[in-house]
């Protein structure tokens, strides 16, 4: 299943996400320091780094949950933060999976999935429900369509959240520490779904410390520290032969246990 980004045609349309000298500050804290990074179609990029290194902020900028203050960020050929860009429309092309799932507690699993397709995409309800059931089956929860989020385990909730994103048929999926809030025995069920999504050719940016996942599907690992991209490379290369002191120290900490 190895998909190599080098096979892609070159040219500007081969890039879906492009950061060019992006900077962001929270007050005096420089959370994103001159980020330059491009992601190609069907590419899976894993972002890792110590807590507070700016990795969540990085992917939250892509769909405008955070605003950048300097530099250029182009997503799906549209400039994020440009008044001419319809962010609401752009967001329909970008799925976002949260650490804390953020399912709608007053809606069933199926309603969670069909809400945006029906109201944003204007998909007919019957069609949206049919698609929704298929997606639930795909994430292994075919029998849970009528369950409320409070009746599901963390792993099940996160799988519903992924199905909710897929229902919009996005071009890009962003994952913000999708397994960090889960009990250990539920992590693999979520990662398996993410692997399946990656293998279907989804363009993904995943903030995670799950190095097994990175090894299985990522083309690239980006290591961040203190707001900067310190190192970036193929997973095998990065894990077996980290080049900087900071990445060595970080890997030493997360791989030891």
């Amino acid at each position: 299943m190895a998909r190599c980004s080098c096979e892609l045609p070159s040219g500007r349309f081969s890039v879906v996400i492009e950061f060019q000298g992006v900077n962001k500050w929270f007050g005096s804290l420089h959370v994103l320091n001159d980020i330059t990074l491009s992601v190609q179609p069907r590419e899976v990029v894993v972002v890792c780094g110590p807590s507070g290194s700016g990795k969540s902020t990085l992917i939250r900028c892509i769909n405008g949950l955070e605003q950048i203050q300097k530099g250029d960020l182009v997503v799906d050929e549209k400039r994020v933060g440009d008044p001419a860009t319809n962010m609401t429309l752009l967001r329909t092309e970008i799925g976002f999976v949260f650490q804390s799932f953020n399912l709608y507690p007053h809606k069933t699993a199926l309603e969670n999935i069909t809400l945006a397709p029906i109201h944003v995409r204007k998909t007919p309800r019957a069609q949206a429900e049919k698609d929704g059931r298929e997606l639930l089956a795909k994430v292994g929860l075919g029998d849970k369509f009528n369950a409320y989020p409070s009746q599901l385990s963390g792993g099940q909730q996160q799988r519903v959240a992924i199905a909710r994103c897929l229902a919009m048929r996005p071009k890009i999926m962003l994952f913000d520490e999708p397994t960090s809030a889960l009990d250990p025995e539920m992590i693999s069920e979520v990662l398996d779904v993410m692997v399946a999504v990656a293998e279907e050719g989804m363009t993904m940016m995943v903030v995670t410390h799950e190095m097994g996942f990175a090894r299985r599907v990522a083309q690239r690992v980006v290591f961040m520290d203190q707001g900067s991209i310190v190192e970036s490379g193929a997973p095998e290369e990065f894990f077996s032969n980290p080049k900087t002191e900071r990445s060595k120290a970080f890997l030493g900490k997360i791989l030891r246990h």
Partner: protein, 225 residues
């Protein structure tokens, strides 16, 4: 002290109390509907990013909460005619109650909306919903649940506040008691009867609060039935 307490006089005045009760009930219903409208509008303004909308809403809420209702009532009752606006006492009274209660309702609704976790907003933003879709489909249905009990509490307060309208001679419940007290010089008969009627109204609203709590308490698991 109560040996000459006259139930007979109360009986004579019962039709007047009945009319007063009916007036109190329907003017409260209209005023509370008005308060909800004012409250929703103020709250919507208060939650906007634009200062031009937020500042007037906040100022209004502060002024109303910082001044006594009686002062506000007199302000409208004596002030509006000076602006050339002559309205019946009852309309002035309903207006005062709506404008006053609206400020409290605005804060109740705002607290309800702010109690919804930030992640709910973010999830709906990320899925491409517009502001109005987010409010209608995600935030308000959840906020609604938490605001019902405090809104009923505010309704109870407003029913009692409506007694002040007797001072601008609206023929509501307290006014009926005042008439009995002054015509027959029987303040005890007049005001004890009035108190009993308010207590009754209170229990009706409280019953409603309990029912709505039970209804909401059914929660999501059974709402599909």
């Amino acid at each position: 002290m109560l040996e000459n307490f006259s139930f007979r006089t109360i009986g004579e005045y019962l039709p007047l109390f009945g009319q007063g009760l009916v007036t109190t009930v329907w003017l409260s219903v209209i005023s509370f509907a008005g308060a909800l409208l004012v409250g929703i509008l103020l709250c919507a303004m208060n939650l906007q990013r634009s200062r031009a909308l937020r500042v007037p809403a906040k100022a209004y809420i502060d002024v109303v909460r910082a001044t006594p209702l009686l002062v506000q009532l007199y302000f409208l009752y004596f002030g509006l005619p000076r602006l050339g606006i002559i309205l019946p006492e009852l309309v002035v009274g309903v207006l005062a109650l709506s404008l006053n209660s609206g400020a409290y309702v605005a804060e109740i609704i705002r607290a309800g909306i702010l109690s919804i976790p930030r992640g709910q907003v973010e999830a709906s933003v990320a899925s491409g919903m517009s502001y109005l879709q987010r409010m209608r489909l995600v935030i308000l249905p959840q906020a609604f649940k938490v605001t019902i009990p405090p809104l009923l509490g505010q309704a109870i307060v407003m029913v009692k506040d409506s007694a002040l309208l007797s001072l601008i001679s609206v023929a509501e419940l307290t006014r009926a008691g005042q008439l009995l007290a002054s015509d027959r010089f029987m303040p005890a008969e007049g005001f004890i009867t009035v108190a009993a009627f308010y207590l009754m109204l209170y229990y009706c609203l409280k019953g409603l609060a309990v029912l709505s709590g039970r209804w909401l308490g059914l929660g999501p698991a059974r709402s599909r039935a």
